[in-house]
Amino acid sequence: MTTLLQIQNLSKSFLSNRVLRSINFDVRKGEVHALIGENGAGKSTLVNIIAGIHKRDEGTMVFNGTDISFNHPLEAMKAGISLMHQELSLVPNATVAENIYLRREKRNRLGFNDWAEMNREAAAIFERIGIDIDPKALVGTLSVGMQQIVELAKAISLDAKLIIMDEPTSSLSEKETVEFFKVMRDLKARGISLIFISHKLSELFEISDRITVLRDGQHISTDDISTVTADDIIRKMVGRHLGDLYPVRSSNIGDVVFSCRGLTRFGAVRPTSFDVRRGEIVGIAGLVGAGRTEAMRALINADKRTSGQFWIEGNEITIGDPGEALSYGIVYLSEDRKSSGLFLSFNITDNVGAATLDRYTGSTGMFKQSALRDKAKDFIGRMDIRPPNEAARVVTLSGGNQQKVLLAKALDANPKLLIVDEPTRGVDVGAKSLIHARIRELAETGIGVIVISSEMPEVIGMADRILVFRNGGISAELDNHQGNVTQEIVMTHAVIH
C-alpha cells in the first residue's frame, strides 16, 4: 500500500500555547484512517493544516510524492485534498449541482454555465456511489444525511485523492449512517483515502483500517484497527497528565441547595434530573454536541424549555427567564465569553454591574455610580484583574482577565448556584489555576457550583461529583469525592457505542 500523505514532526502554536507538538502522521492510498482524541487534543488543528486553512509552524508534509505548503483552502482543493466541515457550508437556495461546482462551473462557448453538462456529471457521481439524489433539487430540501453525501460528491467532483471528514455522522440517523458508510467503502475501493474523525467508537471499528490517537497535541499511537479494542483506544485517549495542581477537594458538603427534575427541551435535551449540594462542585463532562450547554440554557430558560421543575433551598421555584433565575441566585456564565458573556466595548465597572444594576439603584431609581465603582475596584483587587487602566474597555483585556471579570460579575449577584460554562477556554496556563482556585473558594463559601468543561482533566480535577452527558442527557453520575474517577470511566460513558 503506497503512502499518499506523509507528515513528519509537525508543530503549531496559537499565540503562546502549543497546540501540536512534533506530530508524525501518514495516510495510505485507498485507506480509511480514523483520527480520535479528546476535545482540544489537536485533531481539528491538524486537519485544518492539511486542508490549507492554517499554516504549520514547523515540520514537513509530503503529499503524493511532492512537498506541499498551502496558504488557501483553494490550493489544497486543487492538489486533491478536500475538507468536509462539521457544519455544512452548503447554500440551501442553490441546487445540488450548483453547490458542487461553485467557482468551478463548466462553461459552454458563450461563457454561460453549462448546467446540462454539470447536472449529467453530478448524476453520474451519485449513480457511481449508488445514491439517488436529483442534481436539480434545491439543497435546502434535502435531509441532513443527503446533504452530507452532496458534500462528499463535491469532494469527488474535485477528483480528490484525500477527503477529510470531521464528525460527518454526528447528525445522521442510523439508516443514513449505513448509506454513508456504503459510499465510503465505494470511495476506498476506488483508491481514494479518507481521514475520518468521530467519537462514535462503534463506527470507527466498523469502517476504518487504521486508527491514530492524539492527546494534548501529541501523537500517541497509530495501530491497525484489528489489533486494538475499544478499551485500548479509550485508555490511550485519556491518561492526560493531570498537570496543574487542582485545589484540594471540599471537605464539608452541605445539604441539597438546588435540584432539578424532568428538564427537557424539544430537539436538544432528554429528560434530565440532578441535585447540587451546598459547597459541592458538580462537574459536567461530555463530548461536543452532548447537550451540556443546551441543558443549562434550558434550565434558566434562555432557550425556551419544554418541561422542568426546580427547587432552590428546598422550596419549588418557577424560572421564566434568566432574570428570574438571577433573582433566585442562579447565575449562568456562558460558554462563549465574547458574544454572550461580556459587554466588550464597556469598561470593567459596567461589566461587573451588568447583572445587578437594580441593586445599585436608589429608592427613586437613581443609579448609584460610585457604589458600583467601589465594588468593581474591590473585585479588581480580590481577583487581581490587571487592566491597562481603570477605564480600559474589556475587549483589550487578556482571556484570563476577561474570565475573572465574568466571575466578579457572577459574585456580585451573590449566587446560591453558580453555573460556569468552559471556565478556562482560551485562558493561558498561568491564569487557569488561579481561576480554578477562585471557583473552589466560591464553593467553600457554601454555594453550589456546576462546572461544564470539555477538558477531561479539569472536570475530574475540580469536581466532587461528575455528571457525564451523552446524546442530550445524563448517561452516568460518578462520585468523585476521593478524586478516584478515571478519565477512562468518564470517556466510556461519554462515547456513543
Binding site: 447554500v91 440551501p92 437556495n93 467557482r103 454555465n113 430540501t141 445522521l172 430537539g267 436538544a268
Partner: protein, 340 residues
C-alpha cells in the same frame, strides 16, 4: 424526509409567486368589472409606463438585496442621469451617443463609490447609500438651480416616447433587461455567487468568493441601471428635473420585498421582483381607475410591505421548526440503541 415534505420546501417560493400573481389578477379583473376600461390596450400601456422606471431600479435593487445590502441612492442617481444627459446634449451640444455613454459611466462611478465606501468603512450599506442619496439630491438641485432643462432633439425623444414592435422603448428595455438579468442570475457563475454571499459572507469567502469585488460590481450595476432609467425618463418627459423619481427607491425596495426576496439576503429572484413591480403597477392604476381617494395608496403600500415581510418571517420560523423535529427523532433513536 418524506417526498411530500421535500416538494413543499422546494415549492414555497413557487407558491408565493402564484399567490402574488393571483392577487394581481384579482385586482385587475375586480376593477375591470367594477369600473371598466382597465384592460384597454391604452390603459395597460399607461399602467406599464407608470412603473417602468421604478421597475428598472428594482432589477438592480434585487441583486443588491440578494447580497444582503441595500441601495437608497438609486432615486437621485436616476435624476442625476436625467440632468447630466440633458446638460451634455443641450447645453454642451454633444451628440446623443457620447452623452449617453458619459452619463452611464458617471453613474457607474457613483455606484462604484457606493460599493467602495461600504467595503472600506465596513458600515451598514443603508447609511452610505442614504448619505449618497442626500448628497446627490442636493447636487442635482444645485447644478440645475431648481429649474428643468428641456429642448432635446427629436431622435433622443424617441428613446422615451418611441415604440418598437408596439411597445414603448422603456417597457421593451425593462423586459429585455429583466430577461437578460434573470438568465444571468439563474445561470451565470458570477451572479450565482450572490446567493452564497447573501447566505453567509464568511462561508462564501472561505470557498474562494472575492466578496469585496462582487459588492463593488453589484453596486456599480445598480447605479448604471438607474442611469439607463434616467436617460429614458428624460426622453419620455422631454425634460430633466431634480424632482423626478422622488421616493422611487422606496417603491423599488417594496417591489423586491413583495416579490418574495428575503431582505436579509440569500433568497429572491428577478422573476419575483418583476411580479412585485407588476403588482404595484396594477394597484396604483386600480386607484386611478376606481377614482378611489388616492391618499389610500400610501396606506396600502405600507400595509403590503409589512404583510410581505411577515410572510417571509413566517416561512423561516416554519423551517426552524422542521429542523428541531428532525433532531428530536435522532436523539430518541440513538438513545434506544445505547446499551449502558
Amino acid at each position: 424526509m418524506s417526498k411530500a415534505q421535500r416538494n413543499v420546501t422546494k415549492n414555497t417560493t413557487v407558491i408565493q409567486y402564484i399567490g402574488l400573481a393571483f392577487v394581481t389578477f384579482a385586482v385587475l379583473f375586480g376593477v375591470q368589472l367594477g369600473f371598466g376600461n382597465m384592460l384597454t390596450p391604452a390603459n395597460l400601456e399607461v399602467m406599464a409606463m407608470n412603473m417602468v422606471f421604478e421597475g428598472i431600479l428594482a432589477l438592480g435593487m434585487t441583486f443588491v438585496i440578494l447580497m444582503g445590502g441595500i441601495d437608497l441612492s438609486v432615486a437621485s442617481v436616476f435624476a442625476f442621469a436625467e440632468i447630466l444627459g440633458a446638460k451634455l446634449m443641450i447645453e454642451a451640444g454633444l451628440p446623443i451617443i457620447p452623452s449617453i455613454l458619459i452619463t452611464l459611466i458617471a453613474c457607474a462611478l457613483i455606484g462604484a463609490l457606493n460599493g467602495g465606501l461600504i467595503v472600506l468603512f465596513r458600515v451598514h450599506p443603508l447609511i452610505i447609500t442614504m448619505g449618497m442619496l442626500l448628497t446627490l439630491r442636493g447636487v442635482n438641485l444645485a447644478i440645475t438651480d431648481g429649474k428643468a432643462i428641456s429642448g432635446f432633439t427629436e431622435s433622443y425623444l424617441f428613446l422615451g416616447q418611441g415604440k418598437i414592435l408596439g411597445l414603448s422603448v422603456p417597457i421593451l428595455f425593462f423586459l429585455i433587461a429583466a430577461l437578460v438579468l434573470g438568465v444571468l442570475l439563474a445561470h451565470h457563475r458570477f451572479f450565482r455567487q450572490l446567493y452564497f454571499i447573501g447566505g453567509g459572507e464568511r462561508a462564501a469567502a472561505l470557498s474562494g468568493v472575492n466578496v469585496n469585488r462582487v459588492k463593488i460590481i453589484i453596486y456599480t450595476l445598480s447605479a448604471t441601471l438607474a442611469g439607463c432609467a434616467g436617460i429614458m425618463a428624460a426622453a419620455r418627459y422631454g425634460a430633466a428635473h431634480w424632482g423626478h423619481g422622488n421616493l422611487a427607491e422606496l417603491k423599488a425596495i417594496a417591489a423586491v420585498a413583495i416579490g418574495g426576496a428575503n431582505i436579509n439576503g440569500g433568497s429572491g429572484t428577478i422573476g419575483g421582483t418583476v411580479l412585485g413591480v407588476i403588482f404595484l403597477a396594477v394597484i396604483h392604476n386600480a386607484f386611478v381607475t376606481s377614482a378611489v381617494n388616492p391618499f389610500w395608496y400610501d396606506v396600502v403600500n405600507g400595509l403590503m410591505l409589512l404583510v410581505a415581510v411577515l410572510l417571509s418571517r413566517f416561512i423561516t420560523l416554519r423551517n426552524v421548526r422542521a429542523v428541531l423535529t428532525l433532531k428530536q427523532s435522532k436523539i430518541e433513536n440513538i438513545e434506544a440503541t445505547q446499551r449502558t
